[in-house]
Symmetry: C2
Subunit: 247 residues, 2 copies
DNA sequence: CCCAAGGAGTGCACTGAGTGCCATGCGTAC
DNA sequence: GTACGCATGGCACTCAGTGCACTCCTTGGG
């Protein structure tokens, strides 16, 4: 029974990595030990006892830091979710709502992109283990709810505001996840930012309100669109976007 | 230790309820016993031993019919998912894809609407128990994947086909769930079909392809749309739909 | 310098979900 | 009648997760 020399991954602590180190070294040691074993012999073949033995700590301490075995695989989502909630609450209230939730989604991507190797290994793990996939769904669901709640507030005056909020939040999350998975499958080689921008642009093209007018340019009051009637609607939307001067 | 007189709810068996009864009466007895106890004392306060004692069967038999404790709460989703997959595979391939997945989503609603009281009780249960919510997410995820896979096939030729497939599938599921929850909150009093139609119409207004032209009516070759530039895009899309002669 | 308080870490025993294995009973085919 | 298959039941086991009590170790106050 050896103890780990140090964190194998550049793991983020609960606190911001300031001048000193984050507060709980034990937490990071548990994550490192867990991932080492998960990658060696698989998630289900690794027991809590194995993890705490490798980390050199007591079994009871594991559950002090992680409420369940699944949580050790997603050690940073709690902080990221708090960041997203804070970001959405921080706005002045006159931002374009769809753009705002897209920007919030980019926060999640940035967290993944901060530790590419860790993210890719976790991706491979969750892809294989059904229990982890289910857990990830509940994590993603909380992000989606945060976006939807924000949109519901912003759409409070609209008819069908909650419906639109739920649908747009789901679309944003789906687009984000599509781009994220594409990036993860590339082993972190692709340009994550560009991929997610492209995906979110599609959502904005379908749901976005007024495209941001370039500063100093007077928006036209009316716009005329001409389309063949049998063209698919999404093509029409693209044309509208183009006509309106947005990429 | 009493045994149950019969199924408390009009439970659907695994087989279609044809002339005779479905094959496993034991399965239905377990579901009935489980729900009785869940409603009496709560999900977490009920053990598998409690359930099998009330149902009058051996503990091992429970896990013969349900792989986990959560599964007994969603006894019919497996069949419904198979129905949806079959429905999507049955098409001739020239249907409008978005309309097709909307129709597939209506299959799920119909399953809920078949047993309103059961559905409402289950809704209250899952709303309270985090573990059941997480399980429900994994169920919903499978529906969403079925829709997305269908759309991916239909969109194989498109650029960004998989992105569009994922986003539209997520939007359809979100709209369906929004309507479903609204109906469940009304204790099954609202018109479920109308509610979900309205919700899905919003998704179709954003993503729908060519609206079905009424038979015998010649489509115009071009259409002109005029809109105020600062109108939200979804309003523009609604206008387009209206101009094109769709709801 | 001593002691009290509190928090972090630990050991222990316990509950309950889920699994593997084998025995039992029952109906059917040969 | 016997053999086979199948549904069920019983038993023992693993392992995640929890409650409780104990030990340090640090901090602060007298």
């Amino acid at each position: 029974m050896r103890t780990l020399p140090g964190a194998t991954f550049p793991l983020m602590s609960s606190e911001k990595a300031g001048a000193g180190t984050g507060k709980p070294p034990m937490r990071d040691a548990l994550v490192a030990a867990a991932f080492q074993l998960f990658l060696e012999r698989g998630y289900e073949q690794t027991t809590i006892d194995d993890i705490v033995a490798l980390a050199g700590v007591g079994r009871r301490s594991f559950f002090r830091y992680f409420p369940s075995k699944e949580d050790v695989v997603f050690p940073d989502h709690e902080r990221c979710l708090a960041d997203m909630t804070a970001f959405l609450a921080a706005g002045s209230g006159d931002e374009e709502p769809v753009r705002r939730v897209c920007d919030a989604a980019r926060l999640v991507l940035r967290m993944y992109a901060e530790n590419p190797t860790f993210s890719v290994q976790r991706y491979r793990l969750t892809k294989q283990v059904p229990g982890l996939r289910a857990y990830e769904l509940s994590v993603v669901w909380r992000y989606e709810r945060a976006l939807a709640e924000y949109l519901r507030r912003r759409f409070a005056a609209r008819r069908d505001g909650t419906l639109q909020a739920d649908v747009i939040a789901a679309a944003v999350v789906a687009a984000h996840n599509n781009a994220l998975r594409s990036w993860l499958r590339s082993d972190g080689q692709d340009d994550a930012g560009a991929t997610v921008d492209h995906a979110l642009a599609y959502v904005q093209s379908a749901f976005g309100g007024t495209p941001v007018p370039p500063a100093g340019e007077q928006p036209e009051d009316v716009v005329v669109v001409v389309s063949r009637r049998d063209a698919p609607l999404w093509r029409v939307v693209q044309e509208i976007e183009a006509t309106l001067g947005r990429g």
